[in-house]
């Protein structure tokens, strides 16, 4: 779950009138703050999701303005922790007591409705769950949040607590914040008690769901100007560009950041839809002897043009040993079109991989027939499977094919000359070579066009302005299989992938 650093969590709490220790936020590039709290102060580097900040030197006590300047400069500069969003400077308070407070979700069970859980302990620090006597664990309804009176009643009898009224009011505000922003976790640790018995949040953090963020609150959850922490790999950047050029369907690709265990078989995957991803992960992909190089999801009606482009990226993953493609097995999207994209990628990629292809859904037989015809012409072995064969039954083949070497790959040469037709959405260039089709019959490539976009009139290629190219690759496939390569399609990649 994405995390909110302390200074942004404080904004949410402040809006719900939850008392906070005084603080000033300084971001990189800001001038030295003109007014700072009285010394000593604490400097806290703001890094979402960072834990054990004290231990890693990301929280520092300073006693003089000189120390402040020096430490501020250090924490605002990139370091072993990366680049902090900024530094929060807070008062060094003289606390009478330190408590713990947290809110999280209870997902419920057959016997209990789900809701929220409030954890409160009169001992600060982590590991509250194991405490007894000093721990309150209170379930609460998101529909009818608890009043401060109810919280006060629940706090009764808790060892070491004297400030019942102040704490219950504080916890009520905390629960309002938790519910108001639909957070997953909200933690205040420590919750400080001052000498006058008032309470303040000294440190806090939150976890949230992206889908729960309201438009009006985006500035807090996703501050403008903040450098993206998406940490995309080069290949992921290419897929971002592919999606920008062709927004049809879903084109998701993310590489595995972990290091494969020794001897694990490295599988590049083209998973189609949630069903394909689920089938792979739940049956095979998480095995310890298999290393899934990437997650992917190509579905939702994307064109074969786009499937091809994403496949070119999937195949370009260094160290991958085999390609595995699967969907749920019940795809409504035409499997023959997908097969055409796979065939094109395997013959044009500079780094094709031995491939295991499970086609299931509309025209699945045609998809397999295509590979029966062409697999001997490819520089790698390809095995196709019907939908009734699941990924778990392919493990032996994965291990077998992972050790295979690839034959010398002929460098793909893009068609030369001026393209006959430029398709804008989905983007592609269709080349027609009239010298390769000199008889009177309609070329197979034109006959194969499922929408009627390509027309043959009096021995010439025409396009029907009323029809649309859906980027299915059927024309090129038919030209190569049943014609004389009279049509070729060039699908440029946003960047060179090899």
């Amino acid at each position: 779950m994405p995390a909110l650093p302390e200074y942004r969590t404080r904004i949410l709490l402040e809006r719900e009138n939850v008392p906070l220790v005084n603080g000033i936020f300084v971001s990189p590039g800001d001038e030295y703050p003109s007014s700072i709290p009285e010394m000593p102060v604490y400097l806290k580097a703001q890094i979402p999701g960072a834990t054990s900040r004290k231990k890693h030197g990301l929280v520092r006590r300073v006693d003089t303005p000189e120390e402040l300047q020096e430490n501020l400069d250090t924490l605002l500069s990139p370091g072993s922790w990366g680049q902090a969003e900024g530094v929060l400077i807070t008062n060094g308070l003289d606390l009478r007591d330190e408590y713990y407070a947290g809110c999280m979700l209870d997902f419920g069970s057959e016997d209990n409705l789900p809701g929220g859980i409030l954890l409160f302990s009169t001992e600060g620090g982590s590991g509250v769950e194991g405490r007894s006597g000093t721990l309150l664990k209170m379930r609460f309804s998101l529909l009818h949040p608890p009043s401060s009176d109810r919280i006060k009643k629940e706090l009764k009898g808790l060892e070491g607590l004297r400030e019942h009224a102040a704490v219950s009011e504080f916890l009520k505000g905390m629960i309002s914040t938790f519910i108001g922003y639909k957070l997953i976790v909200l933690e205040i640790n420590p919750l400080g008690v001052l000498n006058d018995g008032s309470v303040v949040a000294v440190d806090c953090r939150a976890e949230f769901e992206k889908s729960a963020v309201r438009k009006a609150d985006r500035d807090v959850f996703f501050p403008p100007g903040l450098k993206s922490s998406r940490d995309l790999t080069e290949l992921e950047e290419v897929v971002e560009l592919i999606n920008r050029d062709d927004p049809s369907g879903t084109g998701f690709f993310r590489q595995n950041r972990e290091t494969p265990s020794e001897g694990a078989f490295r599988v590049a995957t083209n998973l189609c839809g949630g069903g394909g991803k689920m089938l792979w992960e739940m049956t095979t992909g998480s095995r310890t002897d298999i290393f899934t190089m990437n997650e992917s999801d190509t579905s939702g009606g994307l064109s074969a043009f786009k499937s091809y482009r994403i496949l070119m990226v999937i195949l370009a993953q260094r160290d991958a040993q085999v390609l595995l493609l699967t969907g749920s097995g019940m795809a409504f999207q035409n499997q023959h079109h997908l097969a055409a994209a796979v065939w094109k990628a395997l013959r044009e990629s500079p780094t094709p991989l031995p491939s295991l292809l499970r086609f299931g859904g509309t025209d699945e037989d045609k998809a397999r027939e295509l590979f029966e015809r062409v697999s001997g012409t490819l520089p790698v072995r390809v095995k196709t499977y019907p939908a009734v064969v699941f990924p778990n039954a392919m493990v032996d083949d994965i291990m077998d094919m992972a050790g295979e070497t690839t034959e010398t790959v002929q460098r793909y040469k893009a068609p030369r000359g001026k393209p006959e037709i430029i398709v804008e959405i989905p983007p592609g260039r269709i080349y027609f070579f009239p010298q390769k089709w000199r008889n009177d019959e309609i070329p197979p490539s034109i006959k194969a066009c499922p929408t009627g976009f390509l027309q043959w009139k009096n021995g010439f290629l025409h396009t029907d302005p009323e029809a649309r190219c859906i980027g299915c690759l059927m024309c090129e496939t038919a030209a190569l299989l049943d014609g004389n390569a009279e049509i070729l399609i060039e699908l440029e990649m946003p960047e060179v992938v090899d």
């Binding site: 979700l105 057959e110 409705l113 639909k182 839809g273 689920m278 089938l279 739940m282 009734v388 699941f390």
Partner: protein, 322 residues
């Protein structure tokens, strides 16, 4: 004969309202549902009341729609994740008995809120994050099959009730029980056609969704199939995360479920705290692990298979026994 909705929500003949009918998804899936046989009486999109989509009148709210068509008893929501909570409350307040929430990515707090909210009503909902429900009596809620032609070709009346936390496997487990000469691993260890042209067929497919707080749970679905006279065996896809499989096991153990149940339990290799394809598959405690669920199900006498293609042979075995 009534379909599975009779045992889920007391509905003999669904009369349905479609939220988001004016959107691309709502429009195309409404066509699929109607072509399959679902009676869609009205649509609902706030601010677009008064329009028509394929002859279906559109209202601004469920209350307006129910006022015009009091026979409405169910709804399907094709609205974005962030709008699900408010639309579902609208439908529940209007008195609709059965809802299908298709959206993926509904905030967990909204799911928890709705679960509590619906407990105060005489209604139930399927989802969120579900492909819906298909009953071979002739109605469909959601997007199973993708097109009516494909759905009608693949889902045929018969004896198997499918319950699944995955959309893909809901569709697949349903369709493969209706496929003549389906090959698969047999009880004797050989591999080949499990049956001839006389496939077992389906009563209904019910996808409870892949989220951590489903409205209708696997157990609720199983209890409905227990009551449904067409259903002889249940084929279930379960996985790590939540306690739904554990609850199902308890119900089998205590005799609440007496019909044979075959479970394909996915996620054998899932590590605790790691998110998988479904938000609900994350392991949060030791009861939610694959091992704990397998033990609970086996102890209850449920047939558990570890690979999806083994479901069909196991179902066939149960049908022969019954």
């Amino acid at each position: 004969m009534a379909g599975i909705l009779k045992y889920i929500a007391g509905i003999e003949t669904p009369k349905t309202l479609v939220f988001g009918i004016t959107g691309k998804q709502g429009k195309s899936k409404s066509r699929l549902m109607r072509k399959f046989g679902t009676e869609i009486i009205a649509g609902c999109t706030p601010g677009k009341g008064g329009q028509e989509v394929d002859g279906v009148p559109v209202f601004n709210s469920a209350a307006e729609a129910v006022s015009a068509f009091p026979q409405l008893n169910s709804a399907v929501l094709f609205v974005p994740a962030g709008a699900v909570k408010i639309a579902a409350i609208d439908a529940l307040d209007a008195g609709l008995k059965f809802l299908v929430l298709t959206a993926d990515g509904v905030p967990a707090q909204d799911e928890i809120f709705l679960k509590e909210y619906v407990s105060t009503k005489d209604s139930v909902y399927l989802g969120p994050n579900t492909v819906g429900l298909l009953d071979t009596e002739g109605y469909l809620f959601g997007l199973i099959g993708g097109s009516a032609t494909w759905a009608m070709k693949n889902y045929k009346p018969g004896k198997v009730g499918v319950v699944s936390r995955s959309g893909g496997l809901s569709q697949l487990l349903g369709a493969f029980h209706c496929r003549p000469n389906l090959p698969g691993p047999r009880a004797d260890g050989s591999y080949g056609p499990l049956w001839g042209d006389d496939y077992p067929g389906l009563s209904a497919v019910l996808c409870v969704g892949g989220d951590p707080v489903p409205g209708i749970s696997m157990l609720d679905a199983a209890i409905a199939f227990e009551k449904d006279p067409r259903t002889e065996v249940m084929a279930v896809y379960g996985e790590t995360g939540t306690t739904q499989e554990n609850d199902l096991a308890s119900a089998v153990m205590n005799g609440e479920i007496t019909k044979p149940v075959v479970v394909f339990l996915g996620g054998k290799f899932t590590k605790a705290g790691v998110s998988q394809s479904h938000a609900g598959a994350m392991i949060r405690n030791e009861n939610e692990t694959w091992e704990a669920k397998q033990k609970a199900l086996l102890d209850a006498g449920v047939t558990v298979v570890e690979r999806p293609d083994a479901v069909f042979g196991a179902v066939l075995g149960k049908l022969k026994e019954s």
